[in-house]
């Protein structure tokens, strides 16, 4: 397979999808979304191709590539083919991708080494897949006939593409949110650029973002979905693009189902009811199909990947958006405005329950995670970001759905930690790396919280003077 061609296809598909589908979105955000969209679409078409491959039994690499291309072209024909802007945006990203592809941005760690070694037995791996008619996560590289994502993508500029895409999305997101929040243009733009600076200059994401090569992609996809679903207004195709991003996370990370369900339930419930229902249906169906392809491993007792208990849990979690919609339609409860907060409380409740079951385990997890935030390579980053976020708890205006979503995702890391061996101190810890996925969203929420706090402070100080004016 030809790498640059794949890269170009990714950005072109993403460009077409972004330009062709999302009309009302901030242009900067739209531009930044391109690689994430391209990756999402290709990953998902690859997954579908793989399922078809199992049916037709032909050479799977060829089938996957052909079907991926056909499906991608179909997407473009449906959504973006008539948009000349897609060519412009796609060309810019394409040139960017080409330039980046000239240098390897990866580095090697134990996991990377392991992945490379694992990829080395791809033949056995493929046989196992055929035997099981299933596949594990990490499909993105597999469908290309390459080794797994973690190894082969060392030659891809995808981490950097996703990284820069995230910067654009942060700028677009902060700018859009702050301006609609009543701020004037100049401070909002300045804060947006500063937010990009916070993201760009922090050292640890640079360091770790290219390790195992999926973190930046996931961070970009999650940010895209969160920002899109946080928008008010009528339903548009951007919702489906956001859903695609969440689905691509599922193909890369096992906890993607949990993350995606939380994002959908907390955020997409703000979208029009019919749209939310449709999104929930597709999401639930996709996750269950995906989980079903893992079932052979469960039945074989291959607990290294999944077990029956976790499968049941995942199935339930996948249905959360749909369950929530049903509750809303039947009982008119919970109200939309309360969903993000209730989601936070619910996950917090689960965490509390798990903590009661094994307090030492959870305390150790929490302490380790807190320690890693301080010493696990992040330096002062989370302090800088979390201070305005925590301060926002005092300002109702700043407690936006995104704010609740971020907190929910952060404590969900501890919930995940309850299901495994304790987290460990060190930058390479699982929880520490999951934080990378949420870091772009944290930057966004931190900056918008700051903006809201600032506006609140100004309002609070204006109120007395305004009340004075009549008496004067």
């Amino acid at each position: 397979m030809i790498l640059f061609s794949v890269q170009l296809a990714i950005v072109m598909i993403g460009a077409s999808a972004a330009v062709g589908t999302v009309r009302s979105i901030d242009p900067v955000l739209k531009f930044g979304a391109i690689p994430a969209l391209g990756i999402a679409i290709i990953a998902l078409t690859g997954w579908m191709s793989f399922v078809l491959l199992l049916l037709v039994g032909s050479d799977w690499a060829t089938t996957a590539v052909v079907l991926s291309t056909l499906l991608a072209v179909g997407c473009i024909a449906r959504w973006g083919v008539k948009k000349p802007g897609s060519l412009v945006f796609g060309a810019i990203w394409g040139v960017f991708a080409f330039a980046l592809s000239r240098s390897d941005t990866s580095f090697y760690t134990f996991d990377s080494v392991w992945m490379i070694g694992y990829a080395g037995i791809q033949a056995d791996f493929a046989i196992r897949i055929a035997d099981c008619t299933a596949f594990p996560p990490g499909l993105l590289g597999l469908f290309l006939g390459q080794d797994l994502l973690g190894s082969e993508s060392t030659m891809w500029p995808l981490p950097l593409l996703a990284w820069f895409a995230t910067i654009f999305m942060i700028i677009g997101g902060v700018r859009g949110i702050c301006r609609t929040d009543g701020g004037s243009a100049a401070p909002a733009n300045l804060l947006a650029i500063a937010a990009a600076g916070l993201f760009l200059l922090d050292w640890f994401p640079w360091f770790a973002g290219h390790y195992n090569h999926a973190h930046t992609i996931i961070g970009a996809s999650l940010l895209l979905a969160a920002v899109q679903f946080s928008r008010d207004g009528e339903a548009d195709n951007g919702d489906w693009i956001a859903l695609l991003s969440l689905m691509s996370i599922v193909t890369i990370r096992f906890e993607g189902i949990l993350v995606g369900s939380l994002v959908l339930t907390a955020m997409a419930s703000r979208r029009p009811a019919q749209q939310y229902r449709a999104l929930g249906n597709v999401w639930c169906g996709f996750c269950l199909c995906y989980a079903a392809t893992l079932m052979p491993f469960v039945l074989q007792g291959d607990g290294e990947i999944v077990d029956l208990k976790s499968m049941v849990g995942l199935a339930f979690v996948a249905c959360l958006p749909r369950i929530h919609h049903w509750m809303s339609a039947t009982w008119a409860w919970p109200p939309v405005w309360a969903v993000p907060g209730l989601g936070f409380l619910a996950v917090g409740g689960v965490l509390g329950f798990l903590a009661c079951l094994d307090p030492a385990h959870q305390v150790e997890n929490a302490l380790t995670m807190a320690g890693n935030i301080g010493t696990g390579g992040w330096g002062s980053t989370w302090l800088i970001v979390l201070v305005p976020i925590v301060a926002a708890a005092a300002a109702s205006r700043a407690r936006t759905p995104l704010w609740y979503l971020l907190l929910t995702l952060l404590i969900s890391v501890l919930v995940l930690g309850a299901l495994r061996i304790p987290y460990r101190a060190g930058w390479g810890d699982s929880a520490n790396r999951i934080l990378l996925h949420y870091f772009p969203l944290a930057i966004l929420v931190g900056c918008t919280s700051f903006f809201a706090l600032m506006a609140r402070g100004a309002a609070g100080q204006r109120e007395p003077s305004q009340s004075k004016e009549p008496s004067d």
């Binding site: 061609s5 296809a9 000239r102 134990f110 200059l201 330096g379 002062s380 305005p388 101190a425 600032m454």
Partner: protein, 419 residues
């Protein structure tokens, strides 16, 4: 439609970049090929052929048979990126017929040449008659003196060295292969006989370690943090963090200022703080080869001072001496019971809050010993799956640094681990 055409065309005609950068090269199959050169010590003498085989997930010949002498091997990789490889140097008498003659195989591991360290395990000087039925070997003196050697015979497919039959490891200086050969029957005539020799422990002079040099993802961050290493410490970070919080408060409540100025009040110190190097160890780790070759004996605290990068995952008591020195690092202590280590509750609590992780397992001395043997038998990949063991003999060897392995980096081997 132009988009469609472009996508299809790009897939059809794009060019594969076989060589992506100077840092990592790929062979025609797209596999990452790394990155080692190695000093051979002692050198392969004249009269022997050598080759290098990479072992691991699958064995692969990295350097095919070449005639000696050679004292330094070069691989077609650059040294900026290091990936540990399990490399075995194999020797045979020059001109040996692959069909009938016996072969000898020295068992050697290498370090990247730019690390100031000799070969991990010294090569085995082998001697003997090509058609001898009993291998007469002369192990390296240091091995013999340190803890003895073990030897194993392997009959292998000529050329590929795929094992056909092999003996167990035997202690001592000679190994009769007659029984093995008899059991092979006719196959013995078409097999290469390989004799593996290994020390029964890791000699004190050498230390198995795992090198994990990590290069940050981009030049920019490296430059930033090289600079940061010199200008910044935690105090500066704390100061800027304080400034950032102060700016945040001013921005929120100092409403008479223009909004733009208020934004700057927060973001300037915030960005400055974030841009400072977060962690000296990690920053250094990102820019320099990172290794530790002597983290083995003596007091751990002293060694940690010598090697501030070390993230010790296993260490031995007296841990009480460590708790103030290794804050922020993870130390795993494990043993059969807590009483094995005389850990009192107060100390245990302190360990937790100083970032030291106490992990008491049910590993017995025998299990630990067996594990240590396995690790050293493998001899080369001490990183995989090693959750460590504290030396249960700590009472017998107070003050010794015992134990294996380190997160991302080092392996500490107890002196008597294999004995």
């Amino acid at each position: 439609m132009p988009t469609t055409i472009l996508i299809v065309a790009s897939i059809l005609i794009g060019a594969p970049p076989n060589k992506i950068s100077n840092q990592v090269q790929y062979d025609e199959r797209g596999e990452v090929a790394l990155v080692l050169s190695a000093d051979v010590d002692p050198p392969v003498p004249a009269g022997f052929d050598y080759r290098v085989v990479e072992t691991g997930v699958r064995d692969e010949v990295r350097i095919d048979w070449q005639p000696g002498p050679v004292s330094r091997l070069s691989f077609p990789w650059t040294s900026d990126e290091i990936l540990i490889r399990n490399l075995t140097l194999q020797l045979r008498p020059s001109g040996a017929d692959a069909v009938t003659n016996a072969f000898w195989l020295g068992y050697v591991r290498f370090q990247p040449a730019h690390l100031p360290h000799e070969s991990l395990l010294e090569g085995v000087a082998l001697a003997g008659e090509a058609d001898s039925r009993t291998v007469d070997w002369t192990p390296a003196q240091s091995w013999e003196q340190e803890c003895g050697v073990e030897v194993k015979a392997v009959f292998a497919e000529p050329g590929t060295l795929a094992p056909i039959m092999e003996s167990d490891w035997h202690s001592g200086g000679s190994l009769s292969i007659g029984d093995l050969e008899d059991s092979l029957g006719d196959e013995a005539r078409v097999a290469d006989l390989l004799v593996h020799v290994r020390p029964r422990c890791v000699p004190a002079e050498s230390t198995i370690f795992y090198v994990d040099t990590i290069t940050a993802g981009n030049t920019f961050s490296q430059v930033m943090h090289r600079i940061g290493l010199f200008i910044a410490g935690r105090k500066i970070i704390v100061a800027f963090s304080g400034l950032s919080i102060l700016g945040l408060l001013l921005a929120i409540f100092f409403s008479r200022l223009p909004q733009t100025i208020r934004v700057l009040l927060w973001v300037v110190p915030a960005i400055t703080t974030v841009a400072l190097p977060p962690n000296r160890d990690l920053a250094r780790k990102s820019t320099e080869p990172w290794f530790s070759k002597e983290l083995r004996t003596g007091s751990l605290s002293d060694k940690l001072e010598d090697h501030p990068n070390a993230t010790v995952r296993e260490a031995v008591v007296p841990y009480i001496r460590l708790k103030n020195r290794i804050e922020g690092r993870t130390v795993w202590l494990s043993g059969e019971t807590e009483s094995d280590f005389k850990i009192d509750p107060v100390a245990s609590k302190m360990l937790r809050f100083t970032g030291i992780r106490l992990d008491i397992t049910n590993e017995t001395r025998d299990a630990w010993e067996q594990r240590a043997r396995q690790i050293m038998a493998a001899g080369m990949n001490p990183i995989a799956g090693l959750d460590l063991w504290v030396d249960p003999w700590v009472d017998e060897h107070p003050g010794d640094l015992v134990l294996l392995a380190v997160d991302d980096g080092h392996v500490l081997v107890p002196k008597e681990a294999g004995s």
